[in-house]
């Protein structure tokens, strides 16, 4: 595990690593590689420096406990010098820094980002903001006799806030570097940070401006321009006196902007309606930016009274030069202000009705645009909620689609008409209005402010297109309120025929689809919400739409999908369904289908001995469900794509979230009569992910990827555009059904505890290890008896369980962990989902050794602290762990416990997921562990995942217990000893690896 820090050294940012060693170059290179950083990091420009860190006797205090424990001993920490090799960040690497910081720690990279890393990324983001909002000016900075050309930021109110927040949270580690092991550097201060911001803004513009822009230096101005765009900021000009006077002139030129930016006050104008006289009044007011409600007449600042000065003490008084400048600027916009003021007469400006109207119509907006606040009467502000001219659409009666399949490209015919609120207007009425040439129009007794240009455009539009056709895609987006209009007209109203009305009501969630009965051959009972879920899938499908079932983990997405397939089968569907899922849940699907839909023929298309080409297509045609994995659909696309599929269902749909990956492309390219996606992770958080899933479900609905990036991804993720995010949410919501365990309607329907078995695969390595242990035992078992035989059996069971858990546990060799265990892989998947939903998880194992392995693997994968409670901890330490896990906010969300040491009396209600990584074949102990997360006070539903490796003794013992309930009580109660009482043949069968196991 490595932590990356960024510190400033001699004015430049430096990246350095903290791991077992400080600033160790190979570590840094490893981290850069693990993060997949690009060209800008490839040939690092490194520097040997001294990092001053809090330490005790030469051992530093780690920045996080994931790196190690703080040095022991009672002495106070002192700053001590450490040799450190750091990498200077060039400008192009800063873009990566911002991106990385935004994404957060990358699971499975083994790299953590420190506060200093995020802090510096924040400063870069601020600099980038200043550049993109174009808030900077070219200037000159003088240092002794040398003049430098500089692009200098001009801070807006928002960026000032950002800057202050950054200053308040600056970690001291940002300034920990020096070139001397004798002098301790000083803490970060505003001028250091401000200087760094200046540098970043300047570099950003130099980078982005056209390279190699050289002007023939015939004057001091050219010399300045050259230095603004060159690498070297120095202004090269022979006549020093010209440089000096130019620097002064330039400062005077930009003075006004800095004056405005530095002001802590804002100027407001308030228009008041006439009261006693017929004169309107315009008040000129000032208020501190920090308190917009504190409006004070500007005139009072000419001779501020003692009382006023006292009131404004926290803000200071505004600079008179700024007041004058602001007034001058406002007068430039609204010339009537020139008459307003003398020192002798300081009253509000009086306006007659005509001028007041011009102010409302024109000047108020212009002043606002220039940064002034304008306060207007409420009736004027509300005028926009008055009825407006818009367009009404109605489906044409001749439209024939009254049932049957639509798709997104189906064409529907509409009629258009103009309307004003509820009133429909004829074209001739519109034309009559246009003749008046007056923005105030009285329509059926009501005064309305109409935009003449829009009126003419409407006439034009209706003249040409009385009839129009829309695609189903446009119609649905329109009905969901995505498009506010056509060619700039607001769509006021859409009238649909009944069938479409009903469809749209279901799509927009206003109405529930008709509930389908549970299929006859389905074993088991669907819960109410599950029945609703599968009816919903069926309803959307009826219209030809793909749908995404995004229920929380544990709500039974698999069952709902199976119910749908079974319903089709009952109705005579002959074609197979292709089900694509991650390798780790292939067996789960098989098991679930065996349990709930035993009459469906399942073909597993997985492993190295899977059927190919014609053999496959023949077998698939006979099957009802073909289960395959994401990896294979791309590899076997050639023949998978040739089968006529009734439908394609992808489970854990987040696997196709990256639209450029081969598996995502393959999933989208397979043709089928219907498409369903299942996922337990919220998909709506990342726009491009949503696109990939929606494009799988309803090709073309969100447009192509490029236009989608332009219209949604970019506005949402780069500009944080809330309207675009809402719009995307609105148009995709009808195709996504997400129900949470916490929903009231669901909770009532759920048991407090949901138990599920997770059937995990073995890796190739695990298979060969398992086989070796099993073979070894086969030979020995028949030649032994009594205690020896019992010992052999119990140790074999132990070793096989270790192999199923992880080869590293079996070998006990501290070997690397990733990619070697099917169980661990599944654990990481489930934990990812749990963390994505901001839930917490308990993981039980009967082996303390395995617990340590899990803690390490999870910490390295998620880069977050994982708690581990085991037998060798003192009571006090155990209590502390429990207390931390039960804490609020950023308490650790993963807790590994050894089954025995878990003991009794622990209150772990903060978790709502419990994993039994391995099983002690003694239900009594297991239930206790589950109950731990399930104490009184638990308000969440608890899900218990029992891990079982398919085809191994784990699965067989599980079946044995399920079959022979009686055994449980009599024999199983005494631990695992009962297993040694099995005869040789039964035991051989128990540990034999099933034929259908194939590592992948």
């Amino acid at each position: 595990m490595l932590v990356l820090h960024i510190s400033l050294y001699q004015g430049a940012p430096f990246l350095w690593s903290e791991g077992k060693r400080i600033g160790h170059l190979p570590d840094l290179k490893k981290a850069i590689k693990a993060l997949g950083l690009g060209d800008s990091f490839v040939r690092p420009k490194t520097q040997k420096v001294i990092a001053w860190l809090p330490a005790k006797a030469g051992k530093h205090y780690p920045s996080t406990s994931l790196i190690g424990d703080p040095p022991s001993g009672k002495a106070q920490p002192k700053l001590q010098p450490f040799a450190c090799t750091a990498l200077e960040l060039n400008f192009s690497s800063l873009v990566d820094i911002v991106q990385l910081s935004k994404e957060g720690n990358i699971p499975d990279s083994g790299v953590l980002f420190s506060h200093s890393f995020h802090w510096f990324a924040g400063l870069v983001a601020l600099a980038f903001n200043l550049v993109s909002e174009q808030s900077y000016l070219p200037g000159i900075i003088q240092e002794e006799e040398t003049y430098y050309a500089f692009w200098l930021p001009v801070l807006s109110d928002t960026s000032k806030h950002d800057f202050r927040a950054l200053y308040r949270s600056v970690p001291h580690s940002v300034s920990c570097m020096s070139n001397s092991s004798a002098v301790v550097p000083t803490a970060p201060n505003p001028s250091l940070i401000g200087g760094q911001l200046d540098n970043l803004v300047d570099s950003a513009i130099r980078m982005a401006a056209e390279p190699g822009h050289v002007f023939k230096a015939v004057s001091v101005h050219d010399a300045w321009l050259n230095a603004l765009y060159a690498k070297d900021r120095r202004i090269i000009w022979p006549k020093q006196s010209e440089l000096t006077s130019f620097a002064t002139e330039l400062a005077a030129w930009s003075h006004k902007i800095y004056l405005m930016s530095a002001s802590d006050y804002k100027m407001s104008f308030r228009l008041c309606e006439p009261t006693t006289t017929d004169k309107w009044k315009l008040q000129i007011l000032l208020h501190p930016k920090a308190d917009p409600s504190l409006l004070i007449p500007a005139a009072k600042f000419f001779k501020p009274s003692q009382a006023l000065q006292k009131d404004l003490k926290p803000f200071g008084l505004p600079s008179p030069e700024w007041i004058m400048n602001a007034l001058g600027q406002a007068t430039g916009i609204f010339p009537a202000l020139r008459k307003s003021w003398t020192v002798r007469k300081q009253s509000d400006l009086e306006l007659d009705t005509d001028l007041a109207f011009s102010f409302l119509h024109t000047y108020a907006g212009a002043l606002n645009l220039a940064g002034f606040n304008v306060l207007l009467p409420t009736w004027w502000i509300k005028r926009n909620t008055q009825a407006k001219l818009g367009i009404k659409l109605s489906t044409r009666k001749s439209t024939s689609q009254s049932s049957g399949l639509l798709n997104m490209e189906s064409i529907l015919a509409f009629d258009f008409s103009a309307c004003l609120g509820d009133e429909e207007l004829s074209l001739s009425e519109l034309k009559a209005m246009a003749k008046l040439k007056n923005p105030l129009v009285k329509v059926r007794g009501q005064w309305i402010n109409i935009d003449i240009a829009q009126l003419n455009a409407a006439i034009n539009f209706l003249d040409k297109q009385q009839k129009k056709e829309l695609s189903a895609k446009d119609m649905i987006q329109l009905a969901l309120g995505a498009e506010s209009g056509i060619k700039g007209f607001e769509i006021q109203k859409v009238e649909y025929q009944d069938w479409m009305q009903k469809l749209l009501r279901v799509l927009s969630g206003k109405e529930k689809p008709a509930r389908l009965p549970q299929p006859k051959l389905f074993k088991g009972i669907l819960r109410e919400y599950q029945q609703l879920g599968f009816s919903w899938l069926a309803y959307l499908r009826k219209w030809g739409f793909g749908a995404c079932l995004a229920d929380d983990m544990g709500l039974g997405k698999t069952i709902q999908a199976l119910a749908l397939i079974q319903t089709d089968k009952d109705k005579g569907q002959k074609l197979p369904v292709l089900l694509v899922c991650p390798t780790t849940v292939v067996n789960n699907w098989r098991k679930e289908s065996e349990r709930f839909t035993p009459n469906l023929k399942v073909l597993i298309h997985h492993g190295s001995d899977r059927l190919k080409k014609t053999a496959f297509t023949k077998a698939a045609a006979k099957a009802d469900i073909v289960i395959s994995s994401f990896g294979l659909i791309h590899r076997d696309l050639g023949f998978l794509g040739q089968v006529k599929w009734a439908g394609i269902i992808i489970d854990e749909a987040q696997n196709i979230k990256n639209p450029d990956t081969l598996q995502s492309k393959a999933a989208r390219s397979i043709k089928a009569e219907y498409r369903i996606a299942l996922t337990g992770t919220p998909v709506e958080n990342h726009a491009t992910e949503l696109w990939a899933i929606m494009d799988f479900l309803n090709p073309g609905y969100l447009g192509n990827l490029n236009s989608f990036r332009e219209n949604y991804h970019r506005p949402i993720h780069i500009r944080n555009d809330k309207a675009a995010a809402e719009k995307l949410q609105r148009i995709t919501a009808p195709f996504i059904l997400r129900r949470l365990k916490t929903d009231k309607s669901i909770i009532a329907d759920l048991p407090d505890k949901i138990e599920m078995k997770e059937y995990c695969p073995l890796t190739k390595e695990q298979i060969s290890l398992y086989q070796a242990v099993a073979d070894d035992l086969q030979d020995k078992i028949s030649s032994s008896e009594g205690i020896e035989r019992k010992g052999l059996i119990l140790s074999a069971i132990l070793r096989l369980k270790q192999v199923c858990n992880h080869p590293a546990q079996f070998a006990g060799d501290n070997s690397p962990l990733p990619g070697r265990s099917g169980k661990l892989q599944r654990l990481l998947e489930i934990t990812t989902e749990v963390m994505a939903n901001k839930e917490r998880i308990l993981i039980f194992t009967q082996f303390a050794q395995m617990g340590a392995i899990l803690q390490q693997a999870l910490q390295e994968y998620f880069g977050t602290e994982v708690l581990f409670l085991h037998g060798s901890l003192s009571k006090g330490k155990r209590d502390k762990l429990v207390e931390r896990f039960q804490g609020e906010g950023d308490a650790p969300s993963i807790f590994v416990l050894s089954l025995k040491a878990g003991g009794t009396g622990l209150n772990l209600t903060n978790a709502n997921h419990v994993i039994h990584y391995d099983r002690w074949w003694n239900p009594a102990v297991k239930n206790q562990a589950t109950d731990r997360a399930f104490r009184i006070g638990q308000v969440k539903n608890v899900q218990v995942h029992k891990f079982i490796v398919s085809g191994t003794l784990e699965e067989k013992i599980d079946e044995l217990i399920e079959r022979k309930q009686l055994l449980n009580e009599k024999l199983v109660g005494a631990g695992e000893n009962w297993l040694s009482k099995l005869n040789d043949n039964d035991f051989r069968e128990l540990i034999r690896l099933s034929d259908n196991v194939s590592g992948d």
Binding site: G38, L53, P54, T64, P70, K78, L79, D96, S114, H115, S116, H118, W119, G122, A125, N129, V131, S132, E133, Q134, D162, L166, S169, V170, P171, H172, S173, C176, T186, N189, P190, S191, F215, K216, V218, S219, H221, D222, L225, L250, S254, K256, F302, P304, G316, P320, I323, M324, N325, L327, G328, T331, R338, S340, T342, R344, R709, R714, I718, R719
Partner: protein, 287 residues
């Protein structure tokens, strides 16, 4: 033999037809064609000297002003010194002298302005309101010094015209600048912007007390929590690009007496929009 240095009287009678010697790095007007003055005060400034000479000279003066023949220009209260490159080998030296307001007159102006803040406000916004002219008239003062009375122009060229094309070129350059910045006109008459502001503060507008605390360099903290820090509580969200590119530059306008072949405003507009879009492009790239 003597070199041929003597020229006949007629050689000077009419301004030479050949174009002036080309120079680089001279001061050019911003306006490429049309008028240098758009506001009433700068128009008055131009009328003041245009009436004194013929249109041929004025045409050539305008083209001198536009092509950057002016090599040096120094503006001080009551005195302008400039050099303009003509057809001869060396540039001509031009001097413009103006009658300055007296100290008492300036004081009287300050007094009046102090009670009419809107005039100062508009001046700061580069607008010289007509109220200011009235104010001067009430004090029996001129705004534009009368040519050959309160203002005298001289040039060491041999042209008899008054003003000659070289001095007229300088007067055009000044016209364009005072059009954008009336304070320059006031400066020539003896009213300094900074002193004016300084002076008005004395007449009752209190300044905000400047809170200037010297930056204290604190020692680096040895406390591990302070040292490694905490998360910043404020998220820095990306901002929208502005509606109009380089608005900040357009608000300030061109740099006075610009002397480069490149168009400053145009260059800035290009830089401002390029830098913004290139940055967004970089941030948008999928890794």
């Amino acid at each position: 033999m003597f070199p041929e240095i003597k020229m006949s009287y007629y050689d000077y009678w009419y301004p030479p037809k050949k174009p002036p010697k080309q120079v680089s790095g001279g001061i050019k007007t911003q306006s490429k064609r049309g008028r240098f003055a758009t506001n009433w005060w700068s128009k008055l400034w131009v009328e003041n000297f245009e009436a004194r000479t013929d249109s041929g000279r004025l045409t050539r003066a305008r083209s001198y002003a536009r092509s950057g023949q002016t090599q040096d220009l120094e503006i001080a209260p009551g005195l302008v010194k400039a050099s303009v490159q003509g057809t001869a080998g060396k540039p001509y030296q031009i001097t413009v002298t103006m009658t300055l307001y007296s100290t008492e007159q300036i004081e009287a102006i300050y007094q009046e302005l102090g009670s009419q803040p809107m005039i100062v406000a508009q001046l700061l916004n580069n607008n010289l309101p007509e109220e200011f002219d009235e104010l001067l008239k009430n004090l029996n003062l001129f705004l534009i010094p009368k040519y050959n009375k309160d203002m005298h122009v001289s040039c060491n060229c041999l042209d008899w015209g008054d003003p000659c094309k070289h001095s007229a070129a300088i007067l055009y350059l000044i016209a364009e600048e005072i059009d954008k910045n009336p304070f320059l006109l006031l400066k020539m008459l003896g009213i300094d912007k900074d002193s004016l502001l300084e002076r008005l503060k004395l007449t009752g507008i209190k300044a905000k007390p400047a809170v200037q605390t010297a930056e204290v360099l604190e020692p680096l903290s040895a406390d591990p929590q302070d040292f490694w820090g905490k998360a910043c509580e404020r998220r820095i969200d990306p901002l929208d690009p502005p509606q109009f590119p380089a608005a900040i530059i357009r608000r300030l306008g061109a740099i006075p007496f610009w002397r480069s072949d490149s168009d400053f405003i145009e260059l800035m507009q290009k830089t401002y929009s390029n830098a913004g879009s290139k940055l967004i492009y970089l941030l948008m790239q999928d890794k």
